[in-house]
Every structure is written in C-alpha cells, then in structure tokens.
C-alpha cells in the first residue's frame, strides 16, 4: 500500500465531507427568504402551540439555536461558526419537532439503520455471487436463460414494491412476520434471547426487500466469471492439475468478485437511500423514518443532520473499501483510483 494512494483516498473522503456540510449550509441560505424567514413560520407554529409569543429577535436566537446559524453575522462568520459547532461540539443544531439535539436523535437511530443496511448488503451480494457464478458455469444452459429472465424481472421491480408484496403475502396473509416496528411490544431490551429474536423477526422483511438492490450484481458477476473462464491463467491452472475446488474459489471466484468489491461498498449509499422509503413502509424507526418525519414538518435542522450522517456513513464505507482493496488485489496498491 503506498502512501500516495492512502493520502489521495483520505483526501477524497475529506473533500466529500466538506462538500456535504457546505451544501447543507448553502441550502439554509438558498431557502426562499433565507433561513430566518423560512423557518419563522415553523418556529412560530411550535411556539404558539405551546402558548407563547415571540418577537423577531427571539426568532433569530432560535434560528441560531436550531440551525447553528447566527443570522446577523456576516456569512463567512456564520460558515466558520457552523463548522466550529459541528467539529468541536458535535452539534448539528436542534430539532424543531423533537426539541432535542439532532445529534442525540440520530445517534439513537443509527444502529438500527446500519443493522438493516449491512445485513441486506451482505445477503444481497452473497446471493448475487452464488447466482452469478452458477449462471456463468452453466452459461447458455436452460438454467442460465431462465435465471437471466428472472433477473430482468427483479431488476425491474423497485424495492418498495417488493416490500409491499412481502407485507401482503408473508406478513398479512400468512402472518409469519410483523408488518412493522423494530421490536415486539413489551419485550425488554437487553442481551437476552427474546429481545434478539424479536429484533431479527422485525428486521427480516426490511432486510429482504433491501437486499434486492444487490441482486443486479449477479449479472455483472456472471460477466466477470465468464471473462475469467477465458483467461490464460485459468487454462494453465487446469493443465496444472489443480483441484477443481481451488480453481472455482481461488481462481474464478476471487478474480470475478474483485472488480465488484468497491462497488459493494458504494452500494451502501444505495441501501441507505432506500431506507428513507422502506423504513416508512415498515414503520421501522431508523434514520430513514427520522428523515421522513422531518420532511413532513419541514424540520430543516434534522433534515440537514440526517443528510450529513448518511453521507458520512457512505464516506466511511467507501474509505474502508479503498483502503482494504490494496490487501485484496495486489495490483491496486499502486493506485489508479476506483475504476
């Protein structure tokens, strides 16, 4: 692993984080009428429902409290201040609706969303690897063409339709799984079997629906494997009398999966994306549902906060992929990026 490559990947991660945070800051200012005017109504609503009254100065203070933006400072000071609070106070403002710091709200939800995302990635890609290699080994067979057709169907079905069909069939009709929530009512949280079974039981359908996102990988794996099957080193391995299991795993498998590895990690962006819709369908209280609720009442600080965290998780995922790729593919350490 060379240092240049390492710094380049780290630099990319920093730039992406900077760009995202700056984007959220810019968006506050791009709202019609600027941050104060656009948030005024929402703040007023919150306050009046609790029976108080406010003047403009108080609203400005509240904007500062909620959005981490001091409306009266020059923009560059606002910007520096926005960053200062994020980096040194871990503050992304305060939610209008929950009256709690955004950071606290998100921190409570992150593990649940990650749980679903990571498992659906793993399941989706494992399935696609198995299917793709089976299709490649039986290229042009009946199995291959039937599977290819099924793949077209799966690729054409949005994950939320899969979710609805699953809810209808296995949850409502058959009653095997709950239709929503993340844990059964009355189950005590903690390291006990009942709790863990309940968690898995509730997460099963969201995970299954999301894992369909990875299934398209089967087609690229099939392509990769067919390409590897035509490589000289594979023929030499056969002539060398290596065991078929070794050829299948260490030769075909490894070389066919390699090009997918970085994509696997970028896939986390897609999976997190889908959580916004899926968690609403399954009323699964993760970050996606938090964001969904935030958008309905225009809870801007919470929206910006979730966007920053969603991006940060993806940045970390891609960074891990980039940094470990060098260990998996000896050719990559020289650099060359993510092509």
């Amino acid at each position: 692993m060379n240092l240049n490559y390492l710094t380049r990947r780290l630099g990319q991660a920093v730039i992406t984080f900077w760009a995202t945070v700056t984007l959220t800051f810019a968006l506050y200012h791009m709202m019609p009428g600027g941050p104060v005017e656009s948030m005024q109504n929402i703040i007023l609503q919150q306050v009046t429902t609790s029976g108080g009254s406010v003047d403009l100065e108080q609203i400005e203070q509240m904007v500062a409290l909620y959005a981490n933006i001091q409306p009266n400072d020059p923009v560059y000071v606002q910007y520096i201040d926005y960053w200062r609070q994020l980096l040194f106070e871990f503050s992304m403002g305060q939610s209008f609706s929950h009256q709690e710091p955004v950071t606290t709200l998100i921190a409570e939800r992150v593990p649940w969303s990650m749980f679903v995302s990571v498992y659906s990635l793993v399941i989706g890609y494992t399935a696609s690897i198995l299917l793709g290699s089976a299709m490649a080994f039986k290229e042009k067979s009946r199995f291959d063409s039937i599977m290819s057709s099924i793949m077209v169907a799966l690729q054409s079905t949005p994950y939320y339709i899969v979710a609805l069909l699953l809810i209808y069939s296995v949850a409502l009709r058959l009653g095997w799984f709950p239709t929503g929530g993340r844990v059964g009512t009355g189950v005590e949280a903690g390291f006990n079997l009942e709790f863990m079974t309940s968690v898995v039981h509730h997460a099963a359908l969201p995970i299954l629906s999301t894992s369909i996102l990875g299934i398209a990988g089967a087609i690229s794996l099939r392509g990769n494997a067919i390409r590897v099957l035509g490589e000289d080193y594979l023929r030499v391995a056969e002539l060398r009398g290596l065991r078929p299991t070794r050829i299948a795993t260490e030769y075909v498998g490894r070389n066919a999966i390699l090009p997918m590895y970085t994509r696997f990690m970028i896939g986390i962006a897609g999976v997190l994306s889908s959580s916004v819709i899926l968690e609403q369908i399954f009323s699964y209280p993760g970050m996606g549902l938090l964001m969904y609720n935030a958008i309905n009442i225009r809870d801007y600080p919470l929206l910006m906060g979730t966007l920053i965290i969603f991006t940060s998780i993806t940045i970390i995922g891609i960074l891990i992929a980039d940094l470990t790729y060098g260990y998996i593919d000896p050719r990559a350490s020289g650099g060359g990026g993510t092509e």
């Binding site: 490589e231 000289d232 080193y233 023929r235 030499v236 391995a237 056969e238 002539l239 060398r240 009398g241 290596l242 065991r243 078929p244 070794r246 260490e250 030769y251 490894r254 070389n255 390699l258 998996i328 593919d329 000896p330 050719r331």
Partner: protein
C-alpha cells in the same frame, strides 16, 4: 537416440462442433515421441499444431474433443496410460506430474492475485507432494533459470517482466519433474534477445533434467538449432517428419520446401516471410486429395483425387513424407541457397545472438 517411445499417438483427431458443421483441426495424426528427445512441430498459425500439443494431456479447450489413441508409457516402468480414457480425477493427477505444458500466454499464465510462490505451493499441494522439498526444488529451478528465488517467489505476476514470468513458468512446469514437457510457442511474446536466452536455457535444462520436450513453433530457424526431430504440419495434418538434418537438407514435401525457401537464412519466422501463394484451407471443409494440391506446383489429377499417405522416403529409416511426387520436389522448388550456405548462415546466426 531411438529409445523407447514415451508417448504413442495413433489416429488422433481433434474436432470442434461449429455452426457450419464440425471443424476438424487435427486429422489422423500418428506419431511416436521418444524418450529424451526434442521433437519440434512446425506449421503456420492455424495449422492445428497447438491442438495436437494440447491433446497430449487431453487439454483441448471446450468444446473441442480429442479422439483416437494416446498411450503414455511411464519411463519409470509403470503400466501404459491411455490418456484420452482417463477419468477426470485421474487426468488431473496425470497432468503436470507426467506431462506439463508451457504455452504462449505466459504474460497471463499466473493468477494475478497470487504470488509466484503461491503457485508453486498450490501445485505441490494439489498433487500431494511434500511441499517443503518441492519448494526447495522450485527455488533450485528458478536459480538454474537465472532468477533470484527469494525475490521471484514473493512477487506478484505484475511485478515481474515478461521474460521473468516466462522463465518462472518454465520453472513451474518442471516442478513436479514431468516425463514430458510441451512447449507451445514458449518465446512468441518475447523480444528476440530474450527468445534466444530462453532457448539456450531450455537446452541446458533438457540436458540437466533428462526431460523429453515437444516444442511447437512457427520459427523454423529456432527449431533447427534445438530439435532432434521435426514434424511439419499443414492443414491439420502431418505432412512430413524426420530428423532435423533430413528436414533441413533433404526436405521432400513441396510445402516443406516452400517453407524453407521462403525462410531466408532460417532467421525470420514464417509469418513474416513472403507468403506461399494460395489460400489456407478451411477446417470445416472435407477436402479431396492432397490438402496442399491447390497451392502446389507439382499437383496433378491424382493429387486432387487421392490423399497421399505418409510414407517413408527412400533411403531413410526415419524420414516420412506425404507426397506422391516427392522425388521431383527438389527440382521444382529450388532453395535459394545451397544447403551448405544455409547451414553456415544458420550457424552464424545462432552464434551471433
């Protein structure tokens, strides 16, 4: 040198099913390969020579099929092995242990994600050999091929030059001490200097390790300096075979003579030389008569009707040719230089490199 045959090939046919019919890329090949010899197989690209070579370890790529009889006689006195009748597992064990093969794709003959050492190790493991002793032998082989074993074993393929990979592959091919080594254009992808040094290495290795070589090439010049015996292939058939001297000085088949004639000083390879007039035959076609008849200046009615069998050239016990008119060939296809001149320039060429 006429020792026992290590491999007997009888009536070998290699065919590929194709849209337009069956493509027969080796037709009725018969030959004995003797122990400790270097047998050269020459032909234009697409003449079927690689397919013949691959058949010796039943390694023709799918969907190609080798049919016929290939009998391997283990030099250590074991029972004869019928190569084409082995089960999958038997074949796996037979390959590389008895017959190994180095072919032209050396640049990509190694798994890109494994070190060279790992290739040595897995080969030993999968053939149930003692890994430690085997690796020691591997290091010795690398050293014999002028490679630094410590460096090469720990390197990944992309870290080595083409010549180093090719030598690494040759070392790997000798790892299990095979009785027969097939070299299919082992130097095709290398520059001239590297080619010559690999050839001289091969010669050393052959003497040191008592191996039998079958060497496939279209580089007639190179082969004439290395091979004990030569087979000429044209249009998927053997059309002439004999000791190297006999082929060079007394070529009897018009095609062989045309080859020699168009190889000035035996130094350039066949594909660069001035072409032999006429089209190359199609492997799907069933031809009548002699396959070379359409390009041959000697061809007559009989040649177009009847297929000439491979038969002994008069006055030789080793040379065979498949031509009805071989006696007239010398006159019809005149070689530009006399045998003496050719020998001198060939020798000079060999020393010079």
């Amino acid at each position: 040198m006429k020792s026992e045959p290590i491999a007997e090939v009888e009536n070998l046919n290699v065919a590929f099913p194709m849209d337009r019919g069956e493509s027969r890329v080796v037709r009725d090949a018969d030959i004995d390969i003797y122990q400790d010899e270097i047998l050269g197989v020459v032909g234009e690209s697409g003449s079927g020579k690689s397919m013949f070579a691959a058949s010796l370890l039943d390694g023709v790529v799918e969907p190609g099929v080798s049919r016929g009889e290939i009998t391997f006689n283990p030099p250590d006195g074991g029972d004869p092995i019928s190569v084409l009748d082995l089960t999958e597992e038997e074949l796996r064990r037979f390959r590389w242990d008895r017959v190994a093969m180095v072919f032209q794709g050396a640049m990509s003959s190694f798994n890109p994600v494994k070190t060279i050492g790992a290739h040595f190790k897995e080969t030993l493991q999968d053939h149930n050999k003692n890994v430690e002793e085997g690796l020691e032998r591997g290091r010795q082989l690398l050293e014999d091929l002028y490679l630094d074993p410590d460096r090469v074993m720990d390197s990944y393929p992309h870290e080595l030059s083409g010549g180093m990979k090719q030598r690494g592959l040759i070392a790997l091919s000798l790892l299990l001490d095979p009785d027969l080594l097939i070299l299919d254009e082992p130097t095709a992808a290398l520059d001239l200097l590297m080619q010559r040094s690999i050839i001289s290495l091969l010669r050393e290795v052959q003497t040191n390790y008592d191996a039998t070589f079958v060497m496939i090439t279209h580089d007639l010049a190179l082969l004439s300096k290395l091979a004990d015996r030569m087979v000429i292939m044209y249009a998927f058939q053997f059309i002439e075979m004999g000791e190297t001297d006999e082929i060079i000085w007394n070529a009897s088949h018009p095609y062989t003579r045309a080859l020699l004639a168009s190889t000035p000083s035996l130094a350039s390879d066949i594909d660069e030389m001035k072409p032999i007039p006429g089209d190359k035959p199609d492997p799907v076609e069933q031809f009548h008569g002699c396959s070379y008849s359409s390009r041959c200046p000697l061809a007559d009615e009989r040649c177009r009707e009847e297929e000439p069998p491979l038969r002994a050239v008069e006055g030789s016990t080793t040379q065979q040719t498949a031509c009805f008119h071989y006696e007239d060939a010398a006159e019809a296809i005149h070689l530009p230089s006399s045998p003496q001149e050719a020998a001198e320039s060939a020798a000079a060429d060999g020393e010079g490199q």
